[in-house]
Amino acid sequence: MSIDRRKFLAIAGGAAAIGIAGRRTLKVLAKNVISKPSATLAGKRWAMVIDLKKCRELPGCTKCIQACDYAHNIPDMGNSKDEIKWIWKEKFNHAFVEQENYFVPDDVKNNPAILFCNHCDNPPCTNVCPTQATWKREDGVVMMDWHRCIGCRYCMAACPYGSRSFNWRDPRPHIKQLNPDFPTRERGVVEKCNFCEERLSRGLLPACVEACPVKAMTFGNLEDPNSEIREILNKRFTIRRKPELGTQPEIYYII
């Protein structure tokens, strides 16, 4: 989706009728009318595959979480109510709530999955934000502007994955080890995984991917048919979280 189109939609939305459900409706129309450009011509679409089989090889490993916490100055608030988390572990039944299977292999059931922002193609969080403080970039990264966010937490209500955190208190005193290369946040704003856009712009892989000792995370460009991520997606069966909501999450899991 080009910037021009977004601008156009914003103007068109001035009419209440279009403004309310319009963006979605137009998207659906566009999908049916305009055929998808061939992959080779398209730009980038960042995505990730997480191989939980590999992840389970090292139970108790938190390297990816530690790397992210340091890279992004994530505080340790010390309680679940005020908690800030960009990447975290969750038991299978909580990570994939819609999977109601009664009998699941023990190692799947008892070992956690790695969760973070799904960087959805159709993110409900950006749709509801009243100040455009969160938006989807051309390459699919769902971004946050911590200087514009008014802290209304509408995005948190809209996210089906619990991927967003709010600074209920001043986070700065709770940062264990300060990374001077990344901004800290103030209280009263929402934050979440940024797919390490600060590293992508320097040609580096996301910190979690780099930190994983068993190479369970594969990051890549979905639009490139020759990329490693496409190869994996072609060969292995993957699932996504709550695909039925139409958000098109871009984190794929090998169970």
Partner: protein, 386 residues
């Protein structure tokens, strides 16, 4: 006209001072919240909206209910409402201001609120909610000001105000519809994802609002010499009766759909509300209290003998108001977050600072409504004297 607010009896001033003290305590607590963060509330990572947003939602309904006196009077020429339309409009003004203050109190960065207008975002329902509420406030201030001014001069209101009054009718419906859309458009929250939410919001608004207006009229009759009379109150009671019946009907439809379909994402929220979930029974007694009050109020309202008895009508109106407040002001918002999107059952209960700030905002609303009513009644009294 404002000068009328500064002369009053001892009782009037005692009431004003009590309200000012509550507003003061609320303001101090709010400053504490500004300095510490919203962490002082019961809200957290899982339950991200709580008491403030619930009060906002409830009060949008009270504000919208002014249409229930404006519509019969201006569209159907129901003269009996002549005395109370201004009371309904002033109630709307006070309620909208409370709504806005609750939103302000709930923001993580309240001083950045204007970003909503600096970067208008039509695809966000919150933008439309701000627009419709702001517009509704302007409409009601303008209409009440112009009509009261005309009344003071003993003239008919100017002709140009009529279309604006007519406009305020659909506008009132719109404010609560948009507020419902705020919730019911979220795929992540099955509890709110129901097409009947907007109609139900309107039904709760049009029962709780007139019920409150009945109570206010009764209070005015007691504390001042102003009596709206028997008929208008009875008419308001009938409006509240129908709206309350619709509300209960809509609620039963919600419960049927959720529980009979048995889809866990939908059913579990209702289980949490009425039976408790995973050992969390936080709202169960309150929801059953709301249910009992709804039944009591309907028995009293539907039976003409009871409804016509003004003493029983006070009990009925208080029951309607409290029943809906428990449902909307306590249960509806937080239950959308319980269970959470990851299937946890978090706990939420407003903290003392949260309640103190809320009481302060309610006191602010009460102050505004008191002063506005004082002005309206003084204008009327002067008319009678002269």
């Amino acid at each position: 006209m404002l000068e009328n607010a500064f002369s009053g009896s001892k009782k009037y001033w005692t009431w004003i001072i009590i309200l000012l003290i509550l507003i003061g305590i609320g303001t101090i607590t709010f400053i504490y919240q500004m300095n510490t963060g919203l962490g002082i509330t019961g809200m957290g990572r899982d339950v991200t909206w709580g008491f403030y947003i619930a009060q906002f939602t409830f009060l949008v309904g009270v504000a919208a209910s002014a249409v229930m006196v404006v519509l019969p009077y201006y569209l159907h020429n129901y003269k009996e409402f002549g005395k109370i339309t201004i009371l309904g409009e002033f109630l709307a003004v006070g309620s909208v201001i409370m709504c806005m203050t609750f939103i302000f109190a709930d923001m993580g960065q309240p001083l950045r609120m204007l970003n909503m207008f600096l970067y208008p975002t039509p695809h966000s329902l919150m933008f439309w909610d701000a627009m419709s509420l702001g517009g509704y406030l302007v409409l009601n201030v303008l209409i009440s000001q112009v009509t009261l001014d005309a009344e003071k001069k003993g003239m008919h209101p100017p002709k140009w105000i009529k279309p604006i009054i007519i406009l305020s009718i659909p506008w009132a419906v719109s404010i609560h519809t948009v507020t419902a859309f705020l919730y019911q458009g979220l795929a992540a929250r099955p509890f709110w994802l129901s097409a009947i939410m907007a109609p139900r919001f309107l039904a709760t608004a049009f029962s709780a609002g007139p019920a409150l207006l009945i109570l206010l009229c009764m209070m005015l009759r007691r504390t001042t010499k102003f009596d709206v009379g028997y008929q208008p109150i009875q008419k308001l009671a009938i409006i509240a009766t129908y709206a309350m019946l619709l509300n209960v009907f809509f609620l039963l439809m919600e419960i049927f759909t959720a529980l009979y379909s048995g889809i866990p994402g939908h059913a579990e929220h209702f289980k949490y509300l009425y039976f408790g979930l995973d050992g969390n029974y936080r709202l169960v007694p309150w929801m059953w209290l709301s249910t009992i009050l709804a039944v009591v109020s309907l028995i009293l309202l539907v039976t003409p003998k009871y409804r016509n008895n003004e003493k029983l009508l006070v009990i009925a109106s208080a029951s309607v108001f409290l029943s809906i407040w428990l449902d909307k002001g306590l249960g509806m918002v937080v239950t959308g977050f319980i269970p959470s999107t990851l299937g946890y059952v978090p706990d939420y209960w407003p903290t003392l600072p949260e309640v103190t700030i809320s009481i302060g905002i309610y006191a602010l609303g009460a102050l505004i409504i008191t002063v506005l009513y004082k002005i309206a009644l003084s204008v009327r009294r002067q008319l009678k004297v002269s």
